[in-house]
Symmetry: C2
Subunit: 155 residues, 2 copies
């Protein structure tokens, strides 16, 4: 199986497969005489494991760990369980954050009367700080969270 087929079979981008190999997430596959990568069914299964993990939002490092846990027979299931639970908690936190953002945005949009720029409620909301107290809280600076919304589709 050549790389293009393997990529299609696992639902990820061809160049991503090479990327996963480069960072050591996938083993180096066999090669044809002309140097083409040649994937076995097992290779494809492993690749699907990775893409499936990504779909569930695991980082590549987490997936690396999961792969190790699932091939090292001395380790128990509880570590996997722990990783999954921690990960779930992160997702839930992230959902809550995004919902907060959505809530504020909806509120702001609702105030907009569609009039002139000078009276735009959305821009106003951005020009004003949420909690006016924190402007002079020069004591403890950067403890703020950053949130990616752009999460980020290819296509």
């Amino acid at each position: 199986m050549k790389i293009g087929e393997a990529a299609a079979a696992s639902g990820c981008h061809l160049e991503t497969v090479r990327y996963y190999e480069r960072i050591g997430l996938l083993p180096k596959p066999a090669r044809t005489d002309s140097g083409y990568r040649s994937y076995s069914e097992d290779d494809v299964r492993r690749l699907r494991f990775v893409t499936r993990g990504r779909e569930l939002g695991f980082s590549l490092e987490e997936i690396r760990g999961l792969l190790q846990l699932s091939t090292d027979s001395t380790l128990s299931c509880s570590e996997v369980d722990q990783l999954a639970r921690t990960h779930l908690a992160e997702i839930e936190m992230r959902v809550a954050e995004l919902q907060q953002m959505a809530h504020e945005l909806r509120r702001t949009i609702a105030t907009c009367r569609g009039g002139q720029r000078a009276a735009c409620a959305i821009l106003d909301a951005l020009w004003k700080s949420t909690r006016p107290g924190e402007a002079d809280a020069a004591v403890q600076p950067q403890q703020r969270r950053r949130l990616n919304v752009h999460g980020h589709s290819q296509n």
Copy 2:
């Protein structure tokens, strides 16, 4: 006001302020004789506009647009409104995706009996593809979405 104070006053990292300047999101500030950046109240307001926009999940390019819209008096509020609505829709989509992920993870975790690795339901779920049909859908490859969970706190 020096850069450290400006950063604290707007709640963002000092180096981020320089970064925003470098990419042209903030105007180049005045300088002291010794070359230190010196920020006015207006500069700080603009910086807060940016950080507030980031908190609402706007990209820096979107914020650049919002800043332009809010200083160009010939443009109406409706473009701002449109941007905000589009952005809100993206956030909502993202929330739905994350909730789907959380749902699947919860389901998978619940199946885990805490036994031996060989019987780990979580790893099993990763080794199996969700919809078995798509493995041989070699026709249309990469139309899959990528989702960042790690969204991404500093500190």
